[in-house]
């Protein structure tokens, strides 16, 4: 087909859809409508290298501005899509103008979950999702002496590591009993609790922030449920994100913690796909639906849709992978460990180089590797091939997992 493709959202998923279509020889019009002012950029470095002062806005751009024109990708920044007219196959923009589509790709991403406590609107309470938020944080960190991070997820922990690298006194407040609890095993949570403690991060687990304390018209600290007040120059809130589903909902499309799509990433309207962080899709490795927030998910979704649009329609079936870097520890995850009930550790926690194999019964769900890329890559291949491993094979360092994966 060569009907116009319109992509709502200029994040990694939206960008990858456009660039994949062109690289696969798609000749029709491609339009990207994004509501941020920047050309599409990478988000992963914003909570890593960017905060350590190793980055600049240009270095996180996915491509330079002139790339889009030279590849006939019509990129519109700072434009918000307000409605979808499914009968007319048009989207309406915030200035009332309309853009027609043959196929519409919703890559609307997420927005920050707002901290619901008194004082949350004070200056000095910051979030970290966009380049502009990263610029604000990177500009304030060097002059700050103490920081409180609310939320022990990937973003919160990466911010804490960056702050400690700059010598800033750092406290993490997490409402659950362990960090990254949604995504990793207890063994990995515990390792990173210790790793941050070794870097003098103060932990406040199992408690939540009840109030942002004001000092001279700004945030000066937080009060937690125990009554303790922790002073800080900056409060960074990293308590998760919510999918941007309103546009789809207004258009009458089904939403269930994300825009509902089938295994081909199509909504119930055959002219509309949804991909990346905003899409809720069938979980082929388990039950129910999945909505993942990751580069791998965004990029592989985009390629799946681009393939379909050039006539190569295959169901989505990629193995999820993720990574995070905190201090000298690089955590690489393959598969999803939710629902695991037993684990095997390979390598050495003491030496900071190990993998945790997470099983439900005797079925391998996922593998978490810290500074063990070899295990991670073997795990990706094993999971993609639908191969499991025995507990003995995982535990025995003499067993070559990579050879098993390639067998």
């Amino acid at each position: 087909m060569s009907e116009p493709v319109v992509i709502v959202g200029a994040g990694q998923a939206g960008f990858e859809t456009a660039t994949s279509l062109r690289s696969k020889g798609y000749t029709g019009d491609i339009t990207i409508l994004g509501d941020e002012e920047n050309v599409p950029y990478q988000r992963p470095p914003l909570s890593k290298a960017y905060l350590k002062g190793d980055s600049d806005p240009e270095s996180v751009a996915l491509r330079p501005r002139d790339y889009f024109a030279s590849h006939r990708i019509d990129l519109h920044c700072s434009r918000r899509v307000t409605d979808i007219d499914r009968q007319m196959h048009e989207v309406e923009l915030d200035d009332g103008s309309r853009v027609g589509y043959g196929h519409l790709v919703l890559a609307t991403g997420t927005r920050n979950r707002a901290l619901p406590v008194p004082g949350a609107g004070l200056p000095g309470v910051q979030y970290l999702r966009t380049l502009s938020e990263a610029q604000t944080l990177a500009a304030t960190l060097p002059s700050c002496t103490s920081i409180v991070v609310i939320g022990g997820g990937f973003i919160g922990l990466e911010v804490a590591a960056a702050a400690r690298t700059r010598g800033v006194t750092t406290t993490i407040v997490e409402s659950l009993d362990r960090p990254m609890a949604r995504a990793v095993s207890e063994t990995v949570s515990k390792f990173f609790v210790d790793e941050h403690a070794r870097h003098e991060v103060q932990w406040r687990l199992n408690t939540s922030v009840t109030e942002i304390v004001e000092k001279n018209g700004r945030a000066g600290g937080v009060r937690i449920a125990t009554g303790e007040v922790i002073d800080a120059d900056i409060i960074v809130v990293g308590i998760g994100v919510m999918p941007n589903t309103e546009l789809a909902e207004r258009a009458g499309l089904a939403v269930d913690n994300g825009i509902v799509v089938d295994l081909h990433l199509l909504t119930e309207d055959p002219a509309i796909s949804a991909i990346g962080d905003c899409a809720s899709y069938p979980n082929t490795a388990g039950t129910g639906r999945l909505r993942l927030e990751s580069i791998q998910n965004a990029v592989d979704h985009a390629r799946c849709v681009a393939n379909r649009l050039v006539g190569n329609d295959l169901p989505y079936q990629s193995v999820p992978w993720f990574w995070t870097e905190q201090y000298a520890s690089k955590l690489q995850m393959a598969g999803l460990v939710t629902g695991y009930d037993n684990t095997v550790v390979r390598g050495s926690l003491e030496e900071g180089a190990f993998s945790v194999f997470c099983f439900a019964g005797d079925r391998l769900l996922g593998v978490e590797s810290v500074n063990r890329t070899r295990d991670h890559m073997a795990a990706r291949k094993l999971l993609a091939a639908g191969k499991s491993l025995s507990r003995d094979e995982c535990a025995d360092p003499a067993v070559d997992l990579k050879a098993l994966a390639s067998a």
């Binding site: 990694q12 992963p44 751009a61 580069i295 990574w323 890329t373 890559m377 990706r380």
Partner: protein, 107 residues
């Protein structure tokens, strides 16, 4: 400023002046050169910035780390003795004139 030349599989060449310190991958992305995807942004997670660099330059390049070595086993185009991940190589003045061969595909 060092000059790098990227050679596409069809033989077309694109030369770019690159400030020292940038990675070979970043230089290609910054110049909008097709043929390098770099979906993970240079974190050695994806093997989609695979390039071939003539062995004559080998002693001027940083050694292949264990991490890069593992990722290179997962490239879409065949790994050869000249394979590198371009995100792992910072451009230095020593690399002025470097020829970087791009593979047929990265994904």
């Amino acid at each position: 400023m060092p000059s790098l030349t990227y050679v596409h599989p069809d033989g077309t060449k694109q030369s770019v002046e690159v400030p020292a310190g940038k990675r070979i991958m970043q230089a290609a992305i910054g110049a909008g050169i097709d043929g390098i995807v770099a979906e993970c942004g240079g974190q050695a997670m994806c093997a989609t910035c695979h390039v071939y660099i003539d062995s004559a330059w080998a002693d001027r390049l940083p050694p292949v780390s264990d991490e890069e070595d593992e990722m290179l086993d997962d490239t879409v185009c065949e790994r050869t003795a000249e394979s590198r991940l371009s995100c792992q190589i910072p451009v230095t003045d020593d690399l002025d004139g470097l020829i970087v061969h791009l593979p047929e595909t990265q994904v």
